[in-house]
Amino acid sequence: MTGDPRLHNALRNLSQAGRVYVVLSTKGGVGKTTVAVLLALHASRRLKAGLMDADLTNPSTHILLGIDPSAVKYREEKGIEPYRINGLRYVTMAAYTGEKPLPLRGREAGEALRELLAIVKWGPLDILLIDTPPGVGDEHLDLLYSLKNIVRPLVVATPSVLSVRSVARLIQLLREAGYGWIGLVENMGSGVLQGEPLLQGADYLGYIPFTPG
């Protein structure tokens, strides 16, 4: 862990959040946000579940949850408490920036995420889903390397050649970083990725069919 005190607090805060899944894909548009929201909502029916939108410059979980970001308020209690939507604990940068564009250089996106990770008190949770922007930038490097002992990577891929080739590189990176378990969710597909040789380094969890609308 490097010299940033916020990462040291992030470790404590996230260790209260049960199983912490970072929803990832080097590719955009494969369904990270959709999978993160679906899993969080599903989990929140039976478990204490949380959802964090770490796609700070282009947050879209609030759109899938159908809520207006200006309605999202956090109570201050030795940090900030997530917003409650029925049972789901929810944190998004959009609560602060609404629908305004937030162009950030990578370093600043990393700073903003570290700040949130340091101050959000998830309180006792069973499971936390963290939605991320596409690619592997500052946010991902902090989560995947500096918080390695606390997060579980959940990779989302579609059956398209572009997505498979680029997710294969991501899985290689995660294996090399020492991740024993790498969850793989096939989205907008029908199970073809289960046998996909390029993705054998991951633990195939199942597929979500293409469901328009």
């Binding site: 040291h8 030795k78 564009p101 937030l102 600043e108 700073e111 903003a112 340091a118 101050i119």
Partner: protein, 129 residues
């Protein structure tokens, strides 16, 4: 307790993880952009430190005025708090980078600028002993 508590926690937990349990002098820099309440921060620091069994002697806090620099035209300017609405100031208080949604370079209007000084709380030095 307000959110400054978590800012104090970050510092104490960092010290704990570095095995620094007795500090003679703790030097902090307080970037004013974040508008952190200094008294509450120092109070929280004492409380959290004692809860974690960390002894801190003197705490020296240096305020730092915010300076923003435009990456497009090179212009630098200081960010008066008055330039933000209450809601914007609160957002920046929790996540200083929110400033990029509220402000542009006064000279060329670019949103590509950097807070080069005065962002928020930072640990400058922890002198053991």
């Amino acid at each position: 307790m307000v959110h400054e508590w978590a800012l104090a926690e970050s510092i104490v937990n960092y010290l704990v993880d570095q095995g620094l349990r007795r500090i003679r002098v703790l030097r902090l820099r307080l970037g004013l952009l974040q508008g952190v309440d200094k008294e509450v921060l120092l109070f929280s620091l004492r409380e959290v430190a004692s809860m974690q069994g960390v002894e801190i002697g003197e705490v020296a806090v240096e305020d730092e005025e915010p300076v923003l620099k435009c990456n497009t035209c090179g212009y630098t300017w200081s960010m008066p708090a008055s330039a933000l609405s209450d809601e914007e100031r609160e957002a920046v208080h929790f996540v200083p980078e929110a400033i990029h949604a509220f402000t542009r370079c006064p000279r060329c209007g670019s949103r590509d600028f950097t807070v080069v000084k005065g962002r928020g709380v930072s640990l400058v030095e922890a002198v053991p002993g």
